[in-house]
Amino acid sequence: MAIPHFLSTGFRFFEHKGVTDVQTIIDDFGTEVLTADNAPKGWYAWTNPSTGVFVSPTYEGKHFQVTLTRATQQKLQMEVRDQGNIVICTRRINCPSANAWTARIFTGPGHVMIDVTMFSAPPEALYAGILDLSPDAQNAHDHYVYGGGARSNLDVADGNNNVHEVYMLDDTVAGHRTRVSQYGSNQNGGSNGSKTLSGARVYRPREMWCQQSGAGGTYGYLHFAGKAYQTLLCPQSLALGARIYVPIDQGVLGEFIVIGGVGSNWTWLLCVRSA
């Protein structure tokens, strides 16, 4: 065996307790992605062409861009753009003013997750990334950037934010839909097989589907686009923020943290690599 490709990229994790201004999160994010540059660990420095704009390194020929904006002291906005500068989504989180928060920042050449535990309110998250296109070649198509988050750019918690619902490009139109693989007893989705007979947890990659270029519209079939890097679906019975140890190869464990700010669906939650 070997570690699956989508779990083989570099990754970093930073946790900041007691945050009271989203500018701190932007500053922390910049420190994480701009200063870390260590190829043997898979860390490749991002670029910062202008304030709040972060462009990922080109990894296997792919890259994406996020723009972080302090809308207010409590409101953080992330705009996600693909390699062709098309806006995939603009999403926000809204933190409480009554208390401080804990921000968890997960980064790598192919993924970004900002998960904020707010204590006096449900956690909220912003995320984006590129997909591992295997079994297709890594240059097989250009619909590989995804994103999402808790709220619209008008601060509305619109519900377009669960483990299966993601923003991507369908044909030429960016939008959200239930596009992540589900595991049920038929094509209508479901939640079968999240633990073994002995009770061991079953994990699944976060796989995404979208419409090919020229195959859009209501009747455009979705095709398999790829897997999110360093991200897994995990059973929703886990506590938000829990650190879990997942076998990613024979004799190799990866530490993942359960994400609080992306809603559960069909008994699955999301977890992202931390160690």
Partner: protein, 266 residues
């Protein structure tokens, strides 16, 4: 990567043309299973009916038995039992037909899987096996046996809900095998989708078994779920790991959720 356990077992494939008497099926199975496959024959034998085949014991000593009976020249009956003697295909027996004028028959066999497929205008398939429960240790807490719900019930009636994913399986806490529901885990995107990648490559996945209540019960050996756009008896070359491929042949079960089932041929 390396080849996963459920694709690492030994396997055999045989095709016999123009079979006009199901005794030929029993005789062919004797050659495939007993002469060449490491199984034993505990009742009957080549040229006899009924004939019972016993699979080679797994590392933990477990096995399954399959009794094959010629009920007429064109109809064969199967009885599958687990190592405790419990009836896996829990309907007295499961039956399968060939044409009076003769049918081509495909055999897919190995120590842990068994599939007989008859080419007819509406092809018929019977399959059963013992699942690979990786990452669980074998037989802890208990093994998973399965058998297809169709193609025909004890009276010989075509099982209209004998979708390939309808399997006899013993759920957690159950005391018998039950078969009238889907027991395969199907990867799905709830919008209209094709089991193909963006570049058009076929997207295949293992036949993973569930009790229908959230429990992962293992994977069928040498079986793959494929897109229903593949024709019956079509052959697909599927990557087994980074360096190896296998050839899988589509068998004739009823389509489920735009999917078909294929077994390893080469």
């Amino acid at each position: 990567m390396s080849i996963p356990t459920y694709l690492s077992s030994t396997f055999r494939y045989k095709e016999t043309l123009a079979v006009v008497d199901v005794q030929t099926i029993i005789n062919d199975l004797y050659v495939e299973l007993v002469t060449n496959g490491g199984w034993t024959c505990t009742v009957g034998g080549s040229g006899q009916t009924p004939t019972t085949f016993k699979s080679p014991a797994r590392a933990d000593g477990l096995f399954l038995t399959i009794q094959c009976t010629r009920t007429s020249a064109t109809r064969i009956a199967y009885v599958v039992r687990d190592h405790n003697g419990m009836l896996v295909n829990n309907q007295t027996d499961t039956r399968q037909d060939i044409d009076v004028a003769g049918s081509t028959v495909h055999y897919f066999t190995g120590p842990f899987h068994f599939c007989v497929n008859t080419e007819r205008a509406t092809p018929e398939c019977f399959y059963c096996g013992l699942a690979d429960q990786t990452p669980e240790p074998i037989s802890i807490p208990r093994p998973t046996y399965f058998a297809s719900y169709g193609p025909r019930d004890t009276s010989g009636t075509w099982v209209v809900n004998g979708y390939w994913s309808y399997l006899y399986i013993m759920s957690m806490g159950a005391t018998s095998y039950v078969g009238n529901a889907s027991r395969a885990i199907l990867r799905a995107c709830t919008d209209s989708f094709l089991r193909k990648t963006m570049s058009g490559a076929l997207l295949c996945e293992p036949l993973e078994l569930t009790d229908g209540a959230g429990i992962f019960m293992g994977r069928a050996y040498q079986a793959m779920i494929v897109d229903s756009s593949l024709a019956f008896a079509a052959e697909a070359t599927i990557p087994l790991d980074d360096n190896n491929t296998g050839v899988f042949k589509v068998v004739g079960c009823i389509v489920t959720s735009n999917t078909k089932l294929a077994f390893r041929k080469a």
